[in-house]
């Protein structure tokens, strides 16, 4: 049951082979047992989860069950969830019981899914290792000396360790794909605007996008069917006809053109990662795909551009945390300015403060054109690079991360080193494209390697098809870490 797909679990529930209360109970038991070692969840609430499971059983019994009804899903703690602690991994929100549901949570509730708990994450989604969480780091279930990646590290760990059948994540610069790669699971960041950001605590609004994390591409498709859709409460939500993202899963890959950017296959990639990625591409050739070399000449600018735009937007978004309407307030202060300054100094961790300071600086008087506007211009160049590349290919592939999971503490004292580990994933957010990571083997110390699959705008169904066909021909996605 731990390795069952969402489709299999749904069939078991429909056939009354198991109830949602039993299924949820099993995963809760496992999560309780493993969480002290992995720290994947910030909140587990058996009573609420089991009440939801009970309601799902009633729905199923009355014949009104949908594809995810009764299935426990772990929710990243960035999504406001009514009645649940929604901390965003920060001391600032460590007392925040959300009075409302994010759009994504509302969609899962409407589908009859069960919330099995809120997952740990880097504070305000700022990090690539889950070490910036106020609730402590998450461990990689393949090797507890290693980080799970971030910022959706708790979700990645929960799925990899089979504490939950699937989870949600958010991705501003790689926060779904990099932890998916480092934990050996599948994760998808949709086209910007496909999933509503309403109630998803904002980091960098023009880059943030929610997406599913699961064992397989097939599971991701079922999750995305629930998550995607227009929402008037998000001004950047796109009005599009609903799609079935599972519709193309079974298509053969004969004639698929895979673009391999020469800038992605460089000496900075560790040999073990390069070997696994090349083997996966070899498998795609066997499945009938052709490879073409493409070029994304401005790739090296993605990290600098991102570290202007994301902190600039974050400094603005996080100005709402002032100790007045919700969240933490410093206990002692002299006047209102002192209250703001002490509240924010005590409530935010070091990485969040660092990014607020960068953002405040680049937006301050006299520097706006040199930094913010210049970064916006380079962002267009990067989007144009992708548009050119997609004239020659249907899909782009490369490594998700240049290395396998690094050790806890290895990069946490050097922000620049940490930032550079996201070089491949960041450009995708800047261009607003969809991309995913799927497991394609193991490298150094038996730590997982992820293949990065980048699609053109709105090509999620095709990307899932490409990933699913590989998973039919391989079994990396079924591998489970030892406990």
């Amino acid at each position: 049951m731990l390795n069952a797909s969402l489709k299999q679990l749904s069939a078991m529930l429909a056939a009354s082979k198991i109830s949602s209360v039993e299924l949820t109970g099993e995963f809760l038991k496992r999560s309780r047992a493993l969480n002290p070692a992995y720290n994947a969840f910030i909140t587990l609430d058996e009573e609420t989860s089991l009440a939801q499971a009970q309601a799902a059983d009633t729905l199923i019994a009355s014949g009104r069950g949908q594809s995810l009804t009764g299935i426990p899903i772990a929710q990243k703690d960035i999504f406001c969830t009514k009645g649940w602690l929604t901390s965003c991994g920060s001391k600032m929100l460590s007392n925040f019981i959300s009075p409302y549901d994010a759009h994504v949570i509302g969609r899962f509730n409407a589908a009859g899914a069960v919330n099995i708990g809120k997952t740990n994450m880097d504070e305000f989604a700022m990090g690539s290792s889950n070490e910036t969480s106020f609730y402590g780091p998450v461990k990689n279930p393949w090797d507890t000396a290693a980080v799970p990646g971030g910022s959706s590290g708790g979700s990645a760990c929960a799925v990899a360790a089979r504490m939950a059948p699937a989870a949600t994540g958010t991705d501003t610069g790689g926060s779904i794909r990099q932890p998916a790669a480092l934990c050996g699971i599948s994760g998808l960041k949709p086209t910007y605007g496909l999933v509503s950001r309403y109630g998803m605590i904002a980091f960098a609004s023009s880059l943030d996008q929610a997406g599913p994390m699961a064992k397989s591409a097939e599971d991701l498709a079922l999750m995305l069917n629930v998550m995607a859709g227009f929402d008037a409460r998000d001004s950047t939500s796109l009005e599009r006809e609903p799609e079935d993202y599972a519709r193309d899963l079974e298509k053969p890959l004969e004639g698929l053109r895979i673009g391999l950017p020469r800038e992605y296959f460089v000496k900075e990639i560790d040999e073990d990662v390069a070997r696994a990625v090349e083997a996966a591409i070899g498998q795609y050739r066997k499945l009938g795909a052709k490879t073409v070399e493409v070029s994304l000449p401005n790739t090296k600018l993605s990290v600098p551009v991102y570290y202007v735009l994301a902190p600039a937007e974050a400094s603005s978004n996080l100005s709402r945390f002032d100790g007045v309407r919700y969240g933490y307030r410093a206990p002692d202060y002299l006047d209102i300015n002192d209250m703001y300054r002490k509240t924010r100094a005590q409530g935010f961790g070091a990485e969040v403060k660092r990014r607020i300071l960068i953002g405040t600086y680049v937006l301050s008087h006299g520097y706006y054109d040199a930094y913010y506007i210049q970064a916006q211009k380079l962002r267009r160049l990067m989007a144009q690079d992708f548009a050119e590349a997609f004239k020659q290919c249907d899909i782009i592939m490369g490594p998700t991360s240049p290395t396998v999971a690094f050790n806890l503490g290895e990069r946490s004292s050097d922000p620049v080193q940490m930032y550079l580990s996201d070089a491949y994933t960041i450009a995708v957010n800047l261009a607003g494209l969809p991309a995913m990571s799927i497991p394609v083997g193991f490298g150094h110390k038996n730590r997982p390697v992820g293949l990065h699959i980048i699609g053109n705008y709105f090509s999620e169904a095709q990307m899932l098809n490409v990933a699913h066909q590989y998973q039919l021909a391989s079994d990396w996605h079924t591998r489970m870490p030892k406990e």
């Binding site: 086209t191 990290v303 209250m339 960068i358 160049l381 922000p415």
Partner: protein, 95 residues
């Protein structure tokens, strides 16, 4: 361009984050490293390029000028640090 200790203190004040002398010195070292990375941007000639604010070229949606929110003041204030008689309490701002 190089960042000074005064820059760090000025920006921390703008961002309303209290910072000690020690923290400011530490922050200066780290921010200087990050700005060293960011400076690579300046080498690209971009005078003919239009800035891109969003990935999709969509217009801001308009909606009917109608009330869509219901009054949930009590619920929302239940998570506030300090409220009294339906008002958020803050230190005195006006003498």
């Amino acid at each position: 361009m190089s960042l000074s200790l005064d820059d760090v203190k000025r920006v921390a004040n703008l961002a309303r984050i209290e910072i000690s002398e020690d923290e400011a010195r530490q922050t200066l070292i780290q921010l200087s490293g990050i700005f060293g990375l960011i400076e690579q941007m300046q080498a690209v000639e971009t005078s003919a390029i239009t800035p891109m604010s969003h990935a999709q070229d969509v217009m801001q949606r308009l909606r009917a000028d109608a009330v869509t929110e219901i009054d949930q003041r009590e619920l929302f204030q239940s998570v506030a640090p300090q409220v009294e008689a339906g008002l958020y309490l803050v230190p005195k701002v006006i003498e």
